[in-house]
Every structure is written in C-alpha cells, then in structure tokens.
C-alpha cells in the first residue's frame, strides 16, 4: 500500500486527450493523494488534434521538468492520430532518453506492438505499458517503480521511519522523530532489507535465504528468529506497544519474513 506523501511532490506530466473522463480523473485523484503533482496537458481550441498535444507536451517537458510522463497511445478521433502517442513517445525519448514514460494504452499489447515500440527506442529509456483499465493504485505503483528513486526514508505506517543511508530507525510520535538506539548492526540490516521489499511491493516477502546472512551460529534460522524477535521488541518498546506474531514483521508460512503496515 502506498502511503501518503510517497510522491514527494514530484510532477507527473499527463498527456491524454481523455483527461476529463471519470476514469482518468480517478487516476489523477490517486496521484494527488499519493503526493504527486499531476500536470495535465490540455490544448485549447475548436479542433484539437494529436499535433497540439505533442507540441504542448514537449513544451511542458522543458517548462515543468516532470519526474515522469503518463502518456496515452491514441489521440482524438482522427485516424492519423491513432498511434500519435507512439510518435510523442519517440520525441520525448529523443529529447531525454532517461525520462520515465508510462504508456497508458487502451489496446491489448501483443508481442508485435511491444517489440516494435521497444525496438524503436534507446535501450536506456525506461518505458513501460499499462492497460487503461488498470486500477489507480496499480498505475501509481508502476509509475513509482518506473521513476525508480527510492526515498531517503521509508515510512512504516505512521509509527516508524527508516533512514537506510544514515543507518537509523526512528519512532514517530506526534511529528517528533526519536532515534531507536537499540536497532543497529545486523538487526538494522534485516530491517533495511525488509523495508526495501515493503517499499517495492506490498506483497513481497524476503526469503530466509536472503536474511540468514545477517545471522550467525550453526542454526542460522534459529538465530534469525531470535534477531527478529529482538527487533520487534525494540520497535514495540519505542512506541509502547507489543507486536504479536501477525503484526509488523510476520513469518509467512516458514518461507520468509515480511513487513506489514502496523495498525495505528
């Protein structure tokens, strides 16, 4: 689940002639609630064509310097604009090959189309495709991953904040951040690993094989279990709570561990 403010005010350029539709409005709403700033390209005039969108989108690229572009494939009712989005994509990538672009398409994307589009692009470009029927949540998740920059701090619900770069874990209390001193060394490494997976995807678990390198002794699984328990106790103490087996860090059917958002 994406928490509020994950977008950090990053601008997302939205280039879609159906930006006023209910479906697109739900996406724009979701972007805003997740802390992004959608910039909608909306040329004015009696007969707006795909070229108008292209000109304005390229102008906004320079003017607004967005973090990513959300781009539709099909523009207008003119047959010549059927794949206008692909030509806009090409021009965007020509200008800035590292610009993340999420193609918002109404088409099924068969191997022909994907391969054709990808082949026409620079290998370093980060372009992805998503069905227009995708849920707003899925759009934001995909966009966030395409932008790729992991945040400086990862928030676990409203209770904790993990700052991997400065090797610190904080408990949050009414906006105040208190450093949890007990979480250091291997315990911090384990928490970082769990937090990175938590940020990437709500459903991702970290298998034992990846966590056991942060434990020692002959029975590394048992040692890991002890560290996880200590970690939970330290986090719990910091917020005067006790986290049960199905809270915060859970063992998923003996496959690995996973962070889950604590209930406030």
């Amino acid at each position: 689940m994406t928490s509020k403010g994950v977008g950090n005010g990053q601008k997302i350029l939205v280039v879609d002639d159906e930006h006023m539709s209910d479906l697109m409005r739900s996406v724009l709403r979701r972007l805003e609630s997740d802390g992004f700033r959608p910039i909608v390209v909306a040329p004015e005039g009696p007969h707006v064509s795909g070229d108008d969108y292209e000109a304005q989108a390229l102008f906004a690229m320079e003017d607004e310097r967005p973090a990513a572009v959300l781009l539709d494939v099909r523009f207008g009712e003119y047959d010549t604009d059927r794949f206008k989005g692909l030509s806009i994509l090409k021009k965007i990538v020509d200008r800035d090959s590292s610009m993340p672009v999420l193609m918002f398409t109404q088409y099924t994307h068969g191997p022909y189309r994907d391969t054709a589009v990808m082949a026409s692009l620079n290998v370093s470009s980060s372009v992805d495709f998503i069905d227009k029927l995708a849920s707003p949540e899925e759009v934001v998740l995909r966009l966030r991953r395409l932008i790729g920059s992991a945040p400086e701090t990862i928030k676990i619900g409203s209770l904790f904040e993990i700052d991997a770069q400065n090797a610190a874990v904080y408990a949050i209390d009414n906006g105040r951040r208190d450093l949890i001193r007990e979480i250091q060394g291997m315990k911090l490494e384990i928490l970082n690993e769990l937090a990175a997976a938590f940020f990437r995807s709500e459903g991702e678990l970290v298998p034992f094989s990846r966590l056991e390198r942060f434990s020692e002794g002959e029975d590394s699984r048992a040692s890991l279990r002890v560290r996880i328990r200590e970690l939970k106790v330290a986090l719990g103490n910091a917020v005067s709570r006790e986290f049960g087996a199905t809270e915060l860090i859970i063992n998923v059917r003996n496959r690995g561990y996973r962070l889950v958002q604590p209930v406030d």
């Binding site: 068969g110 191997p111 990437r200 990846r210």
Partner: protein
Amino acid sequence: MSDRSSKLLRIGGASLAAIGLVLVLLSPVIGEPISPGSLWWIEPVAYVGAGVFFLGAIASFVSIQLASRREKHGADDRSWSQVTQDYFDTFAHDMGRPLRRILGKQREVRALLNETGETTPRMVTELLDEIEQQAPNFRLMIENVRVLVDLEDEYAQPAVEPVDAAAVILNIADRYLPIARERGLDLVWWCEPGEFGLVYTDASALDHVVTNLVDNATKFADGQIEIRLTRNDAHFLVRVWDDGPGIAESHLVHVFDRGWTPELSARREKQSSGLGLFIASSLSERCGGDLLVESRQSTGDEANDHHTAFTLSLPLDNRPAAAK
C-alpha cells in the same frame, strides 16, 4: 509435407543429380577397362548416369516448387494473422469503451461517497467492488482471446527478448494485490536469488501465463496465494500456489483441456471460460517450456494441507542457437 522432409528431398535430389552427372562424365573411364575399344559398357553407364541425373533433377525441382509455395502460403497466412490481430485490437478497444465508462462512473461514485465524510454502507462498497473487479476479468478475457488467435497461427514464433522476469512477476503481483485484498486473501511473492537477472524469453507470453495462474488462484484460494520465482542451471520456474480446496486426482489430467471448467471438479463454482489453463499450457509449450499441476484435495480435516500448485518452467535462454 514438413519443412524437414522437403529439405531432405532437396538435398537427396541434388545429390542424385550430382552422382548421375559424375556417372555420365566418367562413363568412358569406367566402361573402357571393362570392354576396351568398344562402347558396349560405356553406353549403359552413361544411360544409368543420365537416368539418375534426371531423377535427382526432378526431385530437386519438386522440392523447390513445394518450398516456394509454402513460403507464399506462409506469407499470406502471416498477413491474415496480422489483419485478424488489427481487427481484434479495434474490436477490443471499442468493446472496452462502455466498460471504461462504467468503471469511471463507479470510481466517481466512490469518490463522491468518500467526500461526504460519512461511512458508506458495507453493502454499497461491496457492490462497487464487484463492478471494479470486472475490469481485471475483462482485461484477461480480451488478452486470452488475442492469444488464442495468435496460437492458431502455426507460423507464429515466440518473440524472444531479454526479460527481467522478477519485474514481470512484480507487475502481476501489483495487479492482483488489490483484488486479493478485496477477497480477503493474502498474496505474497518472492524470488530467489534476490538479484534474479535477465532471462531470454517471450515477455508477453510469460506475463500472460502467470497472469492466468494468479487469476485462477485468486478465484479458488481460501486465504493464501504464493508466487515464487526460482532458477536452476537451464530453466527458470514460476510456482503459483493457493490453499484452495484442491482438484480431484481424476480431474487433474483434464485441467489443461480446452473448455475444462472447475464446475466439473469438486472445486467451488465460479465463472470460468475454460480457456485460461488451456492457453497457459499451450503458450508454455510454444515457449519451449511446460506447465505442471500438483494438488491435494481437501478432506475436511483441518490438518489436511489442501492446496493447488502450478509450476511453469521455461528455458533461461530460449534464443535460437545461432543468436546465442
């Protein structure tokens, strides 16, 4: 006639013609020692050589004609397939239009209800969820029909490219997490090793097969779904596991049959076209891999570990030998 036998005929024909020609040319040399000074033995060798030459030439001609006809026919078929796909794209786009409107209105209603600040009755939320869930159903249905058209094309080849398999699984997990949550299911995924690296496969096919398996799992799981990506020396494996009631052993052999639906088995009755697993299995085979199923049926005993697991196995590198 297959490509292989046509090639054999061409090579055989050409060899026969060459032998025949050599016999004709060498007939004086072969015949002379047998009957010096007479043409008695030279002529038959030359005749045999000429006969062999003509036989070989005819075989070569026939095989070349067959190959050219096949190529022309293949080109027609490919363009037919392309036309079908183009029509299908337009059809899918137009058919999706009313659904996009319905979905948009439903999300608008949800937003308006949220704005009121009052708690929405659970029944209303459930009805809205039901509408929202038709979107992934529609997406998968359209994609299934597109792949079915593609599978009919015997000349179609998998589009092998470097693929970040973990990213494909991650995207599918993203798509199904909200659906699983709404159905009260816990969906988890992981890959081992953590840095999975690239594989050479058909990304679209991989996405499609696993999507079908995960969609299936969300319909039958009791509470848990696991997606696991692993690799060995030659293959990568995607295992989709659910803790559903399982499939009877007598039905297991039929799950990949076209048109087989779970209503035929002891599993709960749900909507199904009976195409998903058939397509998943056919696509896996076309990509040089296979799809296996393993299941344990519920016995009503709580300790019974009832489940169903599908394992897709695909080559790590499915490029043609020349491209490696």
